[in-house]
Amino acid sequence: MRYILQRIGQLVMVLLAVTAITFASVNVLGDPLTNILGPLASVDCTDVEAGLVEDISTRGGTSQGDCEVIALTRAEFNLDDPLPQRYVTWLGDIATGDFGTSFQNQLPVSTVIKNKLPVTLRLVGMGLFLSIMISIPWALLSAYRANRAFDNVSTVVSFGLLAVPNFAMGVILFYFFAVRWQIFPTRYDPSNAYSQIKSLVLPALTLALPLAATYQRLLRTDLITTLQEDFVHMARAKGLPSRTIMVRHALRPSMFSVLTVFGINTGALLGGTLVIEQIFSVPGMGGEIVTAIVRDDTPVVLGIVVIIVTAFVVVNLLVDLMYSILDPRVRRG
């Protein structure tokens, strides 16, 4: 129990640190006032406030009205507070579920996330599903006759898959399946549920192939170890068919390290779909955060970073806890 609390405390600290860094960098490196108001923000109001300049708004110069807008905006977004105070205010808002309003289209950030997150989650879910569906049979087949032809070819293939950058994999799949053979659409088709799923197959496969290669390597190694255990010899001596031994007896005790890595990868995936979403024009969080960063839409950037980092941290915690439940030694170490 103490171990769990310790881990949670550490992860909360990480969350705070990461959001603080993001908050500071978007606010210090860019001027939020300019991002909200555009060129209007560069109006110099000191003279107006001092009453030195008369109202010249009719001639397109500095005016009382502009300065009021600026003052109002500064107040609305708390821009006059010192940075740490603004961070705390923002953190408080987040804790109560208020992610702020997008600078660009005045939509609440929570709405933006609500629109985009499901698409990305579906993509990640499909990717994970495919990676498991590919890696488990693959590992079973190569461990069954380890170091024979199939296994050796598998080793080369999985090493190769790991050396294909995800964007290159995306372009290759895109070329063959969307452009050349036209099995899948070249652009994301949101018209109905079927077309949405169909549009996500290629990006999900792009996500899944390198993962499948990783899992196959891990699972194969563990399977080979398990197959030397006594209970496997026992099963074989009972005359059970190989297929039953592999699937029913050997697979489950070999899943340990795969599960761990699976968990760690899953946490990172939410932030790892940016490029893939871009290639297949998937309207998910990746595209949204890229647009938001380029347009200096601070609240959206911060909101999405919070979601991604929280997912990463929480999934890691869950993996850790699962690990310590499965293997009591970890708790003491």
């Binding site: 860094i21 050396a163 950058p165 372009v171 070329y175 452009v179 070249t186 932030g271 380029v294 990463f312």
Partner: protein, 297 residues
């Protein structure tokens, strides 16, 4: 008594068996590793010599037209603007490899010392540094890179340094873990006994031992950095000036260019793939070569 002797004997036999496996691993390093190195030397050499090689400039429009298929005149064909893809791949190698190299170098220079200090002193220093590493690792790496590159500028230096920040945590963690192992060893204790100061122990005793696993990771990390540059390119935020592999692949990745001029994206993809493969393989081999504990495989 008799039992004791027999167990001693088996231990000796086991040790010998392990040594044999070690030798086998070392022999296995051979061909593949050297092929990888040859490829890397070739790519680096071509990139280095680009200005004196008889190839087109990276923005020269070649005679012969657009989207031409590979031929003896243009090994990789020409792109949508009529530029020679082979020449641009070599020019692109200059930027992509520099980004990878500078990134991993800065990662080594920051992460290495931090990791050694954390592993050597432990306690509070370790807690703080480990926390920094953990935070860096929790950050979605591409988002961090995007944030910084977008708000600063897209010069080669900035892009490389940003990717270097991403390399700090993994390298630092490895350095820390290795330092912890070596700090307990006899030669470190001996050096302490004869009165060596902390700084000297870290630089003279620990650094050389930590450097080998770090260099293996550096090869892998360079591949990661080169790939990350490509990722940035696809998000429109890679190095602004000149060709890079990522930008070239992006330029050839729209459906129309893919249909009529597949070579425009596939040629740099092939070169990128082989380079990443070579770096991964070499890194993997260097690691298992020096890792005395790893006996299987």
């Amino acid at each position: 008594m008799a039992d004791d002797i027999s167990t001693e004997n088996t231990e000796v036999v086991l040790d010998e068996a392990e040594l044999e496996i070690d030798d086998a691993v070392k022999k296995k390093l051979g061909v593949g590793f050297w092929i990888a190195i040859v490829w890397l030397v070739l790519v680096v050499g071509l990139a280095f010599l680009a200005p004196v090689l008889p190839i087109d400039g990276q923005n020269d429009v070649a005679a012969g037209g657009r989207l031409e298929s590979p031929s003896m005149d243009h090994f990789f064909g020409t792109d949508a603007a009529g530029r020679d893809v082979f020449a641009r791949t070599i020019w692109g190698a200059r930027v992509s490899l520099s980004v990878g190299f500078i990134a991993i170098l800065s990662g080594l220079f920051v992460g290495g010392p931090l990791g050694i200090i954390a592993g050597f002193f432990r306690g509070k220093v370790d807690a703080v540094i480990s926390f920094i590493f953990l935070s860096l690792l929790s950050f979605p790496s591409l988002v961090l890179a995007l944030l910084i590159v977008n708000s600063l500028d897209r010069s080669l230096k900035i892009v490389a340094l940003v990717l270097g920040i991403l390399a700090v945590a993994p390298i630092g963690r490895l350095a820390r873990a290795n330092t912890i192992v070596f700090a307990e060893r006899e030669f470190v204790q001996a050096s302490r006994v004869i009165g060596a100061k902390n700084g000297r122990i870290m630089v003279r005793e620990l650094l050389p031992n930590v450097l080998i696993p770090m260099s293996a990771l550096a090869l892998l990390g360079m591949a990661v950095a080169i790939v990350a540059e490509g990722g940035l390119a696809f998000l429109g935020l890679s190095v602004k000036e000149g060709a890079t592999w990522g930008k070239m692949i992006l330029e050839g990745a729209d459906p129309r260019t893919l249909r009529t001029g597949t070579h425009v994206s596939m040629s740099p993809i092939m070169v990128l793939f082989l380079t990443v493969l070579a770096l991964n393989y070499a890194g993997d081999r260097v690691r298992s070569y020096f890792d005395v504990r790893e006996t299987a495989f």
